[in-house]
């Protein structure tokens, strides 16, 4: 390594390398790392965007620590993630397994299940708001046939978060499905043939070949969907605005409220940093524990 500078050929190569990545590095530097640093700075201030920021030290953080609503927000975000991620993965896995068989119109089904991923979340929310409407909604109309009383899906604190989770799984499972399908295609045929020769049934083949060899794929989905669930915002904003009784208020929604409705940029960036630390922590734990259950070929 140390003689890179002495070898003119290598030096030129390195120089070219840096030159080629410079647009990306400069872009990322300005729009990501500088912004990241600035947000940490802002989190120690009180700033309404209109007048100059005022330094307040750790005030914003200590406020969050003592704020009941913020604690509830944290709880909601974790609850959403803990339910949404595994349920979503199971649905994705089942869809992928079903659509990996040789059924008719397989590609049409794959397309249908993937379509919600391509649709704007806001457009989806508008439709689901109607589905969930207590008086005109399709869901309650069907339930009424079975004698179920009017359920206020998005306005009852017992149901609201489940309504969001259900919708979120519907929206996102197509994405997981496509990735798992790719993972399934990567599993060599020979393993199944060998297992079949040894007399392994379908169930055994699934649990001893398919599932272990899918773990790297599942691990990838686990990481990405955990992060995106912890950052859930759009469906909360369009469906419930954090209500009823703050039962669907999530961290990113609170950040939005603070920053762009009440213009407390300091408190908003402080919340963002709390979320960042949580995501970082959870991701590190997930990476550390992967050795126990993720098998690489």
């Amino acid at each position: 390594m140390q003689n890179i500078l002495n070898d003119p050929m290598k030096r030129r190569e390195a120089l070219w390398g840096y030159l080629m990545i410079s647009p990306m590095v400069i872009g990322l530097g300005i729009f990501f790392y500088v912004a990241l640093g600035a947000s940490l700075g802002i989190s120690f201030t009180r700033w309404d965007l209109l007048t100059a920021p005022k330094w307040v030290g750790l005030d914003n953080y200590s406020y969050l620590l003592h704020d009941e609503v913020f604690r509830k927000t944290l709880k909601n975000t974790i609850k959403f993630t803990v339910l949404n991620v595994p349920l979503g993965m199971i649905v994705s896995l089942l869809l992928a397994l079903a659509l990996n068989t040789h059924i008719r119109f397989r590609n049409v089904y794959r397309l249908i299940y993937f379509l919600p991923v391509l649709t704007m979340p806001v457009a989806i929310s508008v439709v689901w708001k109607w589905l969930y409407n207590p008086d005109f909604g399709l869901l309650n109309q069907v339930l009424r046939e079975f004698g179920v009383e009017r359920i206020r899906w998005l306005n009852d604190p017992h149901y609201a978060i489940w309504a969001l989770i259900f919708m979120s799984i519907w929206m996102g499972s197509g994405y997981g499905m496509v990735i798992i399908l790719a993972g399934l295609q990567n599993i060599p045929r020979e393993y199944y043939e060998a297992a079949q020769m040894d007399g392994a049934g379908a169930v055994n083949r699934f649990f001893h070949i398919t599932l272990p060899l899918l773990t790297p794929t599942l691990f990838f989905i686990l990481i990405t969907s955990t992060i995106s669930s912890l950052q859930i915002f759009d469906i909360v904003y369009t469906m419930t605005k954090g209500g009823p009784l703050n039962s669907t208020r999530t961290i990113v929604y609170t950040i939005y409220d603070d920053a762009f409705k009440f213009f407390r940029m300091g408190r908003a960036t402080a919340s963002a940093w709390v979320l960042f630390v949580i995501i970082l922590g959870i991701t590190i734990v997930q990476f550390r524990t992967q050795k126990r259950w993720v098998y690489y070929e």
């Binding site: 030159l19 410079s22 647009p23 872009g27 009180r46 309404d48 965007l49 209109l50 007048t51 708001k129 109607w130 969930y132 409407n133 207590p134 008086d135 005109f136 206020r152 998005l154 306005n155 009852d156 604190p157 209500g243 009823p244 009784l245 762009f260 409705k261 009440f262 213009f263």
Partner: protein
């Protein structure tokens, strides 16, 4: 070596193309931006801009419609980024926030120089847009609230149309009779300005104290008014919060023929005139007294504009009789300019606009504002929203709403 020069040049081009492009317009033409939030008023404003640009060659105006839902966040971030609109709409509750922070251009000079005659605008609106003895906004329009009703539904139910003599009891009785066939008699919405604030003043109550430092919803006159509004939901004469939060009562339920009556502002007259059902309007019913909330928008200029003279010229023109006449004839809003109300009334002859909105000026109550922006009001809306959705009992709602709002007003920023 040649390759390197070529590659470097290529990178330079790439980098430069990423840099913001500065538009150098020919012939010294200046382009200024004008932000509005109501798409219904866009055609009228395009006409006004044509007239302005004809009278002021060399100035081009770019109208930007920013939807109400994110108007304020866009404005605030634009101000912070040093790229705000040169001229834009302002409303009463936000005005103190922006004026006190030096965002708005002081227009008092224009008044003192005799360029703007304030006597043609309602005094309450001039006061609304003055701060520390200086004018910062030129009144654009005003609005009052009326009782819109679906004529067909009244006919079907055999109920007599609302009149100026209606009381709260008449409203209640009509709502009961009109609640039939899966439809509701009224939408008892949680809109403050266009709904329950009016009831509070009609009952002799107050929303907020004189200097805007404490909310008074917990006092009995105000609280009874809110309870009266809730009684429609309780009795089933109005859809509840669960229904109204997913289907907008003013935009969907009422013009869609699911609800027979609604309190709404004069700015909705055009929309309802164009709606499918036959809709007319009457003055608000009276409680212990008559009251309707008056509010109005103003045109303001940004203090950081690069083209202060052009921005001033536009603000001035927007406040002119010529602009007011175009606005009035579009039938969208009532211009603030004196004498222009008749043109607005004439634009929609099929509706009872004169009595409902213009004669209502006699008993109109100014829009209540606090010195501290709008968060207090959001807190009230949150509490009442839970009551309307059935999650909090209505017994304690006035105290809870007042406490939540006062906490915000008393917090030191």
């Amino acid at each position: 070596m040649k390759m390197q020069v070529f590659a470097l040049a290529l990178i330079m081009v790439l980098v430069l193309s990423l840099a913001p492009t500065t538009t150098t317009s020919a012939r010294d033409e200046v382009t200024i931006t004008y932000a509005i939030w109501d798409n219904n008023q866009l055609p009228a404003h395009e006409q006004i801009m044509d007239a302005f640009m004809e009278a002021n060659p060399g100035i081009k105006v770019d109208i930007q419609v920013v939807p109400w839902g994110n108007y304020w966040e866009k404005l605030q971030t634009a101000v912070a980024g040093g790229e705000a609109y040169d001229v834009f709409w302002m409303n009463g509750p936000n005005f103190p926030v922006y004026a006190s922070r030096g965002v708005l251009m002081n227009l008092q000079e224009l008044v003192d120089a005799g360029n703007v005659d304030l006597s043609v605008y309602p005094e309450s609106l001039v006061n609304l847009y003055s701060y520390d003895g200086s004018l910062y906004g030129i009144p654009k329009d005003f609005d009052t609230i009326g009782l819109y009703y679906n004529v067909d539904m009244f006919d079907d139910a055999g109920v007599e149309y609302p009149t100026a003599d209606w009381t709260w009891d008449d409203l209640k009785a009509a709502a009961e009779k009109l609640t039939r066939d899966g439809n509701w008699g009224i939408a008892a919405t949680l809109e403050d300005q266009s709904n329950y604030w009016n009831l509070i003043y009609q009952n002799g109550g107050q929303v907020i104290n004189e200097d805007g430092s404490a909310v008074l919803l917990n006092e009995s006159a105000a609280c009874d008014a809110i309870k009266f509004n809730y009684s429609f939901v309780e009795a089933g004469y109005s859809p509840d919060g669960a229904t109204m939060s997913s289907v907008d009562p003013a935009i969907q339920l009422f013009p869609g023929g699911k609800v027979a009556m609604i309190f709404a502002g004069s700015w909705m007259a055009r929309t309802y005139a164009d709606a499918e059902p036959n809709i007319n309007v009457a003055p608000l019913p009276q409680g212990t007294q008559r009251a309707t909330i008056i509010h109005g928008l103003a045109n303001v200029a940004w203090s950081g504009t690069k083209h202060p003279e052009e921005a001033q010229a536009l603000v001035k023109f927007l406040g002119s009789e010529e602009a007011a006449l175009i606005l009035a004839q579009s039938g969208t809003v009532i211009p603030a300019y004196e004498g222009m109300q008749q043109a607005w009334v004439d634009a929609l002859p099929e509706m009872n606009l004169q009595e409902s909105f213009i004669d209502a000026l006699e008993y109109a109550v100014p829009y209540p504002t606090a010195a501290k922006g709008m968060e207090w009001n959001t807190k009230i809306a949150e509490v009442l929203g839970e009551v309307w959705a059935g999650n909090i009992s209505p017994d304690e709602m006035c105290a809870m709403a007042a406490d939540a709002a006062n906490e915000v007003l008393q917090a030191d920023e």
